[in-house]
């Protein structure tokens, strides 16, 4: 079965830009306009965040955008409603990213079914462990043609990276350094040993680097070590600037791509 993520990596091997935003932020109905505007500005892949009350792996920026999105009334059913006609408007690869609990309450199987109906290509649930995924859910995800994307970190042993690579498809999400999202301490692209180590493993899947990528400099450095990079918190901050969504998105992407 075709999957837009797989097609993307086949067609464009280098310099991919993936952008994360929290659905329902800044305003409840911004989800589709943000997706379309990102595509218009040449972004390659979009991660739509499903807000959660207790996002353990996230720093203050995404915590706050999640709080606001929840207060605005974002829920999984609401998000699916917003996205129901998205494939009539764009073919950009779409990944849903969130935490396990809301998906569990919605029902994992029902969630996968709905995601496939809409034309979602991949799912990231950072707190769903690999072992549980393989035991309970892998079949469901694959049956619905959803790439389940896993994170690896500088501390992940080689053996486990191989294991993750063997159970996943789409891409491997390389967390740049040991941190929650949104850190701009400069650690993001400093860990070149780790990037090289993973590159030399010649995994089945391509990889993207994320966490702490926030400007042209960190983006282009990350691109030297992987197929591309993922930006989240920095983009969410840009959305909070004065100006229209269009203006903020355009100027942000231009700054990153330079």
């Amino acid at each position: 079965m075709d999957n837009r993520i797989k097609t993307l990596f086949e067609q464009k091997p280098q310099g991919l830009l993936s952008v994360y935003f929290t659905a329902g932020y800044p305003n409840l109905e911004d989800t589709v306009p943000i997706i379309l505007e990102l595509e218009k500005n040449g972004v390659d892949l979009i991660e739509v965040g499903m807000p959660f009350s207790d996002p353990l792996a996230d720093g203050p920026t995404i915590q706050q955008s999640s709080d606001i999105a929840l207060r605005n009334g974002m829920t999984i059913p609401k998000l699916f409603e917003q996205l129901k006609n998205i494939r009539q408007q764009t073919q950009i690869p779409l990944v849903l990213m969130g935490y396990l609990n809301p998906v569990m309450q919605y029902g994992v199987e029902r969630f996968c079914q709905k995601a496939q109906e809409i034309g979602i290509d991949g799912i990231i649930l950072p707190d769903l462990p690999l072992s549980d995924y393989v035991r309970e859910y892998k079949q469901v995800f694959e049956q619905h043609n959803l790439c389940k994307i896993f994170l690896v970190t500088p501390q992940t042993p080689e053996k486990r990276i191989r294991e993750i690579d063997s159970h996943t498809n789409g891409f491997v999400y390389m967390v740049s350094s040991a941190s929650t999202t949104g850190s701009t301490t400069g650690k993001a692209v400093a860990n070149t040993d780790y990037f090289q180590r993973v590159r030399q493993m010649e995994l089945r899947n391509p990889s993207l680097i994320g966490f702490g990528i926030h400007d042209n400099n960190t983006f282009s450095q990350a691109c030297q070590h992987a197929k591309g990079a993922i930006i989240g918190s920095a983009f969410i901050k840009a959305l909070a600037q004065e100006g229209t969504l269009q203006e903020n998105i355009q100027s942000f992407i231009q700054r990153i791509r330079n």
């Binding site: 959660f52 207790d54 353990l56 792996a57 309450q105 970190t153 040991a178 929650t180």
Partner: protein, 395 residues
């Protein structure tokens, strides 16, 4: 029915390790080593010596004569309030700090609600000369000020958690985020039987000393190791886990877990997870969790900072579902009445948390000859300003 953890870290369907990949190496390191370390003779020797001479164990099992008369049954109090630092929490922190040392960690982090776990952690860090950072909700910093002062005195850094309801859940989030950001040198001393496997099992084992002592103390005093009831309050559930541990497979001993009802279970201001919760995932564990229909965690409420948590440990979720334990819940008002009652009948000022267990005495239907052990998890020093206010003793 099996009540202890299985080899995959589950109690029935509850438990597991639902953690982001960033935490995997640390949690895995602990999982691989904790039993080996805990069972090694040098670890046990050091632990037992500290429990005896530093913590002050064994804690007394006290026959509460006047309280027994009042409830017309035989009530014993397991005096965890007499431990160094004033609660059961130190049984666990002494054990975990030794664990951290064995694993070569230099920096200790912890979350705290009532501040008792924070104080107990700061205490063992002072003892072992380790850096200590304690996350505490802003609301709890205000309502448990004496414990904040003690932590500072002990040299710990107290970091306010300012997100969500600014209580125990949020402090736990911040501690976990700290651990993600410091994966190499940091050890997370969790304060209850919560979190990813192996924490619930490890903490339960460190607290199991409570029921281990209860058994021989009861044998001495009553001729039988087994009481009819063991009653304990449940926040995350560590003091209850310790008090129940050696009775789990003795069905004739009734286990009573007491949750905080706050303003009342139906009021929207409550922390009675077994009534209000559904299966979900919080802080790395699949357990009962108070949440909205959409799976967002609900902000709990209790006057007692140590019980103000929207989940329970996975072991207790399993004890609830399997009906091995009886779950009761007690309102703020009932707990406060129990504080005054114990203070005036026995001359013991209990912690607000422990008072929830005491208040359940009127619910359990114990007969005159029944032996009831209430785990008095902590003393009330930290709650005195609340007590003076509520009992109008201020002036």
């Amino acid at each position: 029915m099996k009540y202890s953890v299985d080899e995959n870290g589950f109690y029935g369907k509850f438990g597991g390790a639902y953690i982001p990949e960033m935490l995997h190496p640390n949690v895995e390191e602990l999982r691989e080593n904790y039993l080996k370390i805990m069972q090694s003779p040098d670890f046990q020797e050091e632990l037992q010596a500290l429990l005896k001479d530093y913590v002050g164990r064994p804690t007394p099992l006290y026959f509460a004569k006047r309280l027994s008369e009042k409830y017309n049954t035989q009530i014993y109090l397991k005096r965890e309030d007499l431990n160094h630092t004033g609660a059961h929490k130190i049984n666990n922190t002494v054990g975990q700090v030794l664990m951290a040392q064995r694993l070569g960690k230099k920096r200790i982090i912890a979350e705290t609600g009532a501040g008792q776990h924070g104080v107990a952690t700061a205490t063992v860090c002072a003892l072992m000369n380790l850096e200590c950072i304690v996350y505490m909700g802003e609301v709890d910093i205000l309502r448990q000020a004496p414990n904040v002062a003690r932590m500072k005195m002990l040299g710990a850094t107290v970091v306010p958690a300012t997100s969500g309801s600014r209580t125990l859940k949020d402090a736990t989030n911040e501690a976990i985020r700290d651990w993600i950001n410091n994966p190499e040198d940091t050890y997370y001393i969790i304060g209850s039987v919560v979190g990813p496997h192996p924490y619930p099992d490890m903490v339960a084992r460190f607290q199991a000393i409570i029921s281990e002592e209860m058994k021989w103390q009861l044998k001495e005093k009553t001729g039988s190791e087994n009481p009819n009831y063991v009653v304990a309050c449940v926040g995350g559930g560590s003091n209850a886990a310790g008090a129940f541990y050696h009775y789990l497979d003795t069905p004739e001993v009734k286990l009573v877990a007491v949750e905080a009802a706050g303003m009342g279970v139906e009021s929207g201001e409550s922390a009675a997870t077994s009534v209000l919760g559904k299966e979900g995932v919080i802080h790395g564990s699949r357990t009962l969790l108070m949440q909205t229909e959409d799976g967002q965690v609900t902000e709990p409420y209790s006057i007692s900072a140590g019980l103000d948590y929207p989940g329970v440990g996975p072991m207790h979720a399993h004890l609830f579902e399997s009906k091995r334990a009886i779950f009761e819940n007690i309102t703020d008002e009932e707990a406060l009445q129990a504080v005054l009652e114990l203070t005036r009948l026995e001359g013991i000022i209990p912690a607000l948390e422990s008072a929830h267990a005491l208040a359940a005495l009127s619910r359990i239907g114990a007969k005159p000859d029944d032996v009831v052990v209430v785990n008095l998890s902590g003393r009330g020093d930290k709650d005195l300003s609340t007590y003076l206010d509520r009992f109008q003793l201020n002036g």
